[in-house]
Symmetry: C2
Subunit: 328 residues, 2 copies
Amino acid sequence: MAIRIGILGYGNLGKGVESAVRQNPDMELAAVFTRRDPKSLQVRTEGVRVLSADALETMQDGIDVLILCGGSATDLPEQTPKYAALYNVVDSFDTHARIPEHFDDVDAAAKRGGKVGIISCGWDPGMFSLNRLYANCILPEGEDYTFWGKGVSQGHSDAVRRIAGVKDARQYTIPVPEALESVRNGENPELTTRQKHTRECFVVAEEGADLARIEEEIRTMPNYFADYDTTVHFITEEEMKRDHSGLPHGGCVIRTGKTGLNREHGHVIEYSLKLDSNPEFTGSVIVAYARAAYRMNREGMSGCKTVFDIAPAYLSARSAEELRAHLL
Amino acid sequence: MAIRIGILGYGNLGKGVESAVRQNPDMELAAVFTRRDPKSLQVRTEGVRVLSADALETMQDGIDVLILCGGSATDLPEQTPKYAALYNVVDSFDTHARIPEHFDDVDAAAKRGGKVGIISCGWDPGMFSLNRLYANCILPEGEDYTFWGKGVSQGHSDAVRRIAGVKDARQYTIPVPEALESVRNGENPELTTRQKHTRECFVVAEEGADLARIEEEIRTMPNYFADYDTTVHFITEEEMKRDHSGLPHGGCVIRTGKTGLNREHGHVIEYSLKLDSNPEFTGSVIVAYARAAYRMNREGMSGCKTVFDIAPAYLSARSAEELRAHLL
C-alpha cells in the first residue's frame, strides 16, 4: 500500500511537494488541507480532495505523513507541534535561532502522540546542514563556507515590493566569483558579508514613480541590502514576466581542512546545488524525508528528528540489499 | 575517557588513520598491530605500542574500535569477519561485486560477538556512495555520474610497474573536461569509458629499456588502459621523486534530474573532493565512522553496518543540541 501524504498549505512549497509525490510510486497524495475556503482551491492532481484544516482533527486513519508547507515566522511554530501529536509530520522550519525551541516543542508533542516529527528539512537547512556535519566530522581542523545563489531570494524580493512606488520586484543573490575561487583553492580567506555575495534587483515601478528614490531606498535598506553591493534594474511588467517568472536557486557548502602529522595536506569538500525551481527541489527533499518519517514510526520510533538523526537508508524506497549492491 | 583505537596494518592507510586519530581529541591510538615482526616497525606517534596481530586474540579490554587497514583482495575478506566477532571494527573494503557477501560474513560475526562492524568506509565507497543515495532519493528521475581524479590510481601505477623494463611508475586518472561540463550543464550525455576519463603515466625506465615497447604495452593493456586515451611520459628517478611523490586524488558525484508536473525544471546536485592525500582523507573518514561504531555499540547495537545505515549525528563528538544549534 502506498504511503498516504497530506499537504497543509498549497503555496509554492505545497505545489512542489505535490509534484514530488507524483514522482515517487510508493506514495500517493491523499488530500490537500487549507485554512482558506476549500472551494476556493483547485489542486493540479486529479482526484485529490481539498479539505479544511479543521478536518485534520479526525483524519488519522487516512494520512500516514502530513507535510506542513506554511511559513516559519508564524505558521510552523504553532502547526508543527499541534499536528505532530496526531500525525507523522515533516516541516521546513528555517528560523535558525529558534530551532532549539521548535525542536523541543515538536519533540514533546510527537512523543505524546507516538509519532515522528521531522523539522527543518529542505536544502538549507537540510542538505546543506548534512554536508556541513559530514565535512566537519571528516576534517575536524578546517573552515566552513556557505554560498547561496545565483538564485531568487523571496524574502528580499518581498522587501523591495514593500517600497512605495514598486509594483513588482525580483531579487537575485549572487556569490562573488573571486571569493568562491579563493575558497575552492584552499586559501581560507576571511570574507566580509560584502565580499561573499552581491545582490541584483529587477524592479517594475509604478508610473511616474521616482526611480532614483526607489534605488536609494533599496541600496540603503538595513539588514537586507545595506551590507551588500546591490545593482538595481528597472524593467517593464512584460520583461518581468518573460525573464523572471521562475524561482531558481542553489549554492554550495565548502569545507577546507588539513590532515597529516604536520598538517601538510590540504583537502576541499564541496557540495553544490543548481536548481531551476527552489520550491520543487525543497519539496523533493521533504518527500524523501516523509518516507523516512513513515518507516521510522513503523519501527516504533517517535519524537522530533532532524536530518542529523536519520540514517540515509530510511530515505529510499529500495531495500538495504539493493542499496548495497547498486549504490555503495 | 578517550575512545581507544587499534590499527591493524601500517601502510599508507594505517598511517592516514594514525594522523586522523591525532586530530580528534576524544580518541587515542592504543596500539598498532602487524603481521610482520613488531620490532621491524617504527610508528610515528610517540608511546604507541606495536604488537603482533596475534595479540588481538586477547586485547578486548584495551581496544574500543579496531581499524582494519589491509587490502580488499585477500586481507579484509578474512580479517574483518574474524575481528568483528571480537571488536567493533571499521574497514574500507572496496571490491564492489563482493560487498554483499562481505556484508553477510561481517554481519554474522559481529552479531555473534555483540559488536558493530562498519564496512566499505572511505570516500568511494563511502562519501561518494552516500551522495549517490541522497541524490537518488531526492531526484528519483535522473542520471548519476561519477568522475575520478585528477589523482593517482595505485592499482594502475602497480600495473605499469609490473611491465618489464619499468623501474617506477605513477598513473594519474583525469576526468575529460568536456564530459564534466556537459554533465554539469544538465545535458545528460551518454558517455563511453573513453569519453569520461583519460590516463597519464609517468614512467622511470631501466637503463637501455625499449621505451617504445613499454609505451605500447601500457596503452594496450586490457582492463587497465586499452579502453582509455593514455599518455606516457618517461622521466628520471629524480623527477619522479620531486614531482610525483604525493598521493593526491579526488573526483565528483553528480546527479541531474527533473521535477515539476511536466518535468520542466532541471536540477544538478554535485559532491566533489580535491584531496592532497588520498590515504589521509580516507583515514579521516574511517576515524569519524569509528566514533559511530563505538557509540552505536554502546547503545546496544550490533551487526554489520554501512554508511547508509548510520545516522550522521553518530559521526560527531558534539552533542545533538550543539549540532542543531551550530550546524543545522
